[in-house]
Point group: C2
Chain length 318, copies 2
């Protein structure tokens, strides 16, 4: 096995779509896979029956490889894993848990495993657990994140120094230049969430997609650090929780304010004030909702232009 | 004037040394300038008489251009500015304040001005104020930082979209690959602090330099966000302030715990437990204390290798 992400997953371009809750249904995953990249169905927001339905629909919509993102803290995880086996899904991205528990079982079933980490120690543990690739996700990424707050610019070279298996950079990447920059820092490929959340095919609510387009520098913030760190758009709910934290609210009080179903409310039902709107800082670079095909074409064009621009005077140091 | 940082400051390589308090005396600035880059004396921790002495010593130690870093919240700023004029310093990097106040005065005195910002809005205001270059500093940078927490990977392309004057990337950069990556994202040059803090010539205490070398992923954290956001190594003082914040300490209570002189204590006097140890996340990539000459040589070698590696199969997308 070469270090190439494209060979590992049998895809054309080393671009992976993040398996985001409430955003990454079969339409998004199939569109990404049909464009030569790797689409992922986000299991984290799906009941088992819905998950099975999305996999079946995705198989009908593409004959290219696709995978699923599996948060290992999911309550009915064994049911989901059975569905993955039954439906013959061959690629699993795991997150939020110990990769030792399932990796060898997945391998025995011919499934490739990538594990998402926010820091160097977790990356080393995942490699030790035998996963096939690491996704190292920086502080700027949307949604749930690590406690150490290491940014993509620092995380990628630090992880690269310690691991030998393929490395996928995530967090802050939405453009061809970002892709090339991440690869220079040590990544073999990239994972993008936010850019695909603002696509026509994402299953999220149009209101949420419009908020991504509107978001500028400073629009998001990592919060709920003592409960479970998550990057959100600063809306009414964010302000409410942030004020409570500054005033010394306990973890229990914060959990009470959070309640249940906020992510669904915000991203899937489009309630912009009371819902959780999980998106990365890079939303500030996203100016339009596009089809997956157009998004990937634009990234590849910019990547290739940036690569040939490397011969220009700008980069020449005598 | 071309967009080139090298022409703007009449230097050989587009590398600027951050003017860090308690680290950036005349020895560091002169060594950086003598190596073909731009050295900056950090005025923020100097009394006016000491500042004048450092400028005079720097002029004796190098015949290359050098500059000063001037935090505009400095209490005796007018005295410092008079010294800059009297001593004929021709490059000033301003930070922490409104660039409108002094930029035209500096220009009337033939002084080039760069302004350090943590976000897009500040960058646009600085360009409007007529500064000659922008330093955009990401969340991962050591020391004082912005409230929006935008990382280098997101900040550089966002600022680049909005300004036309030269752009210098700061925060998270300590290597040749980091330099190349930042330039692909839109920077015309880079500013490095942490890497030069761990140099033989930095005026900081050896204990502090050793802490930089020891620091791994997760060693630093941005704290005191309601008082004045600052990235520190997690030591006893950090834990004390962090615990107070979590327990709802008011701004006044936090200021009382902080007290005065913590930065000097930590970085200049080497008190590792009770002092403030301001350093960037990129400390995790710094494994040794080196001479400035060696640091710059290594960065240039790695930069050139990374640039020629762009023709390799890794980057080829068909």
């Amino acid at each position: 096995m070469s270090g190439k992400i494209t060979e590992l997953f049998n895809i054309k371009y080393p671009i992976i779509q993040g398996g985001m809750i409430w955003n990454s249904g079969w339409r998004l995953a199939a569109a990404v896979s049909n464009s030569g990249c790797l689409g992922l169905i986000g299991a984290g927001s799906m009941h088992p029956a819905i998950f099975k339905e999305h996999i079946q629909k995705c198989k009908k919509a593409t004959n290219k490889p696709f995978g699923v993102n599996l948060p290992m803290i999911y309550p009915q995880i064994d049911e989901l894993i059975q569905i993955i086996i039954d439906e013959d899904v061959k690629i699993v991205f795991t997150s939020a848990g110990n990769p030792k528990i399932y990796t060898s079982f997945f391998h025995q079933n011919g499934i490739r495993v990538a594990h998402v980490v926010p820091g160097v120690k977790f990356a080393m543990k995942a490699q030790e657990a035998g996963v096939d690739a690491i996704v190292a996700e920086g502080f700027e990424a949307g949604g749930h994140n690590g406690k150490d707050e290491t940014t993509t610019f620092c995380l990628i070279p630090m992880v690269k120094k310690e691991i030998t298996i393929p490395l996928i950079a995530a967090g802050g990447i939405a453009t061809g230049k970002g892709m090339l920059g991440a690869m220079i820092l040590g990544a073999d490929g990239i994972q993008m969430g936010s850019r695909f959340a603002a696509s026509l095919e994402a299953s999220s609510h149009e209101n949420f997609k419009n908020e991504i387009v509107k978001a500028k520098d400073g629009a998001t913030m990592l919060t709920l650090k003592e409960v479970t760190p998550v990057r959100l758009i600063k809306n009414k709910f964010f302000n409410q929780i942030q004020e409570a934290i500054i005033n010394g609210a306990s973890i229990e009080e914060q959990q009470k304010i959070l309640g249940k179903g906020r992510a669904k409310k915000g991203m899937f039902e489009g309630e912009l004030e009371d819902g959780e709107l999980e998106i990365g800082q890079v939303a500030g670079l996203i100016d339009s909702i596009e089809s997956v095909k157009k998004i990937i074409e634009d990234i590849l064009i910019e990547y290739k232009e940036a690569l040939s621009d490397m011969n220009s005077e700008k980069y020449c140091i005598l």
